[in-house]
Assembly symmetry: C2
Homo-oligomer: 160 residues x 2
DNA sequence: TCTTTTTACTTGACTAGTCAACTATTGACT
DNA sequence: AGTCAATAGTTGACTAGTCAAGTAAAAAGA
C-alpha cells in the first residue's frame, strides 16, 4: 500500500473539509450530551464521572476492582482516577482496601449506600439515554453505532 | 401526539439499550478524538480550547470580539472563558481592551504572534481531521453529519 | 433625574483531565 | 540473598468546566 507523494497530495484536496465538519459535529454533540447527563445527575450530588465509577463497581460485584482496572474501563487517564476515588470514598459510596495477594493494588468496592444511590438514578438516566437519541429511528441508531465503532477502530482503540 | 401511559411503558422496552449504546459510543469516540487532537497541539504549547479561541478570533479579524461572543461560539460555559483568555493573553496571543462604545465589554483580538502560531498548526490539524475520519467513505461522512445534526436539534440546540 | 433591571463580565470554590516525578511492591535475573 | 526492572498507585502543578455570587456599566422605568 505504499503511497507516492503525488497520491498524498492528490488525496488531500478532494474530501477537504467534510470530515472536519463531521469531527466538529461529533465533538459538539458529545459535549451537549455530557452536559445534559451531568445536569440530570447533579441533584443526586454525584458527577458524571463519579457515576461511571459507581456503575463499573456495581458491575464488578462485591469482589471489587483494583484502581487501575477501573481507570481502564473508563475513558480516563490513570492519575485522575485516584482523586476521583478519593472524593467518592469521602462520600461513603466506595470502600478501598489493600489487596492481600498483591499489596500494590487497592481493591475498590461499592458500598450499600453507593448501590442505593444507583438505584435512584438508574431509571432517569436510562430514560435520558432513550430521549437523547429519541429522534433517530432504530435503523439510524444502528448506523450511528456502526459509524462510531468504525471511527474508533481506525484510531487503534478498542476499549472493552 | 399525546401519548398514553401504556404507550410510554410499551415503548420503554422495545428499543431498550440500543440508544444507550449509541450514546456511550458517541461519548467514547468524541473523547478519543479530543485526546488525539490535544496531543497534536501540545508540542506547540497550546491546548485544544486555547486553539479554538484563537481560530474564532482569527475568523473575527482585527475588530476582535467581546468575551461572551467568543464563549457563545465555543461549546463552553461563560465563567470559564475569562480565565481561558487570561492564559492566552499571558502567552501574548491575544490582546484585550475595553470597548469604548460599551465599557462593559472587553474586545479581544488576536495578535501577530497568535496568527503565526495558527499558521504553523493549520496544516497538521487539518490533516488530523481527515485522518481521524479517514476510514469512512464520503457517503458515510455525510450520514454521520446528518445523524449528529439530528441529535443536536432534538436537544433544542443549534449553535452556529 | 433617580432607582431598578439587565447585561457583560469577574472571582471563588470545587471537580476533573493530564503530564511528570515519586513510593511501594513484586518479579526476574545473577 | 541482592540488584534491577516493571507494576500499581499517589502527589504536585497546571488547564479547564461549572455553579454561585459579586461588580461595573448601560438600559428601562417612575
Amino acid at each position: 500500500m505504499a503511497k507516492t507523494l503525488q497520491d498524498e497530495i492528490r488525496q488531500s484536496k478532494p474530501f477537504s473539509s467534510k470530515r472536519e465538519e463531521a469531527l466538529l459535529g461529533l465533538l459538539r454533540t458529545a459535549d451537549l450530551m455530557r452536559r445534559v447527563n451531568n445536569g440530570l445527575l447533579e441533584p443526586f450530588g454525584v458527577t458524571g464521572q463519579q457515576y461511571n465509577v459507581l456503575r463499573i463497581l456495581r458491575g464488578a460485584g462485591k469482589d471489587g476492582l483494583p484502581t487501575l482496572e477501573i481507570a481502564d474501563r473508563m475513558i480516563e487517564q490513570t492519575p485522575g482516577i485516584t482523586r476521583l476515588l478519593d472524593r467518592i470514598e469521602a462520600k461513603g459510596w466506595v470502600k478501598r482496601a489493600r489487596c492481600p495477594k498483591d499489596r500494590r493494588q487497592m481493591l475498590c468496592t461499592i458500598t450499600a449506600t453507593g448501590l442505593a444511590l444507583l438505584e435512584r438514578t438508574d431509571a432517569p438516566i436510562s430514560a435520558l439515554g432513550e430521549k437523547a437519541l429519541g429522534s433517530l429511528s432504530d435503523n439510524q441508531v444502528r448506523t450511528l453505532i456502526r459509524l462510531l465503532d468504525n471511527v474508533r477502530q481506525n484510531q487503534g482503540e478498542n476499549d472493552d
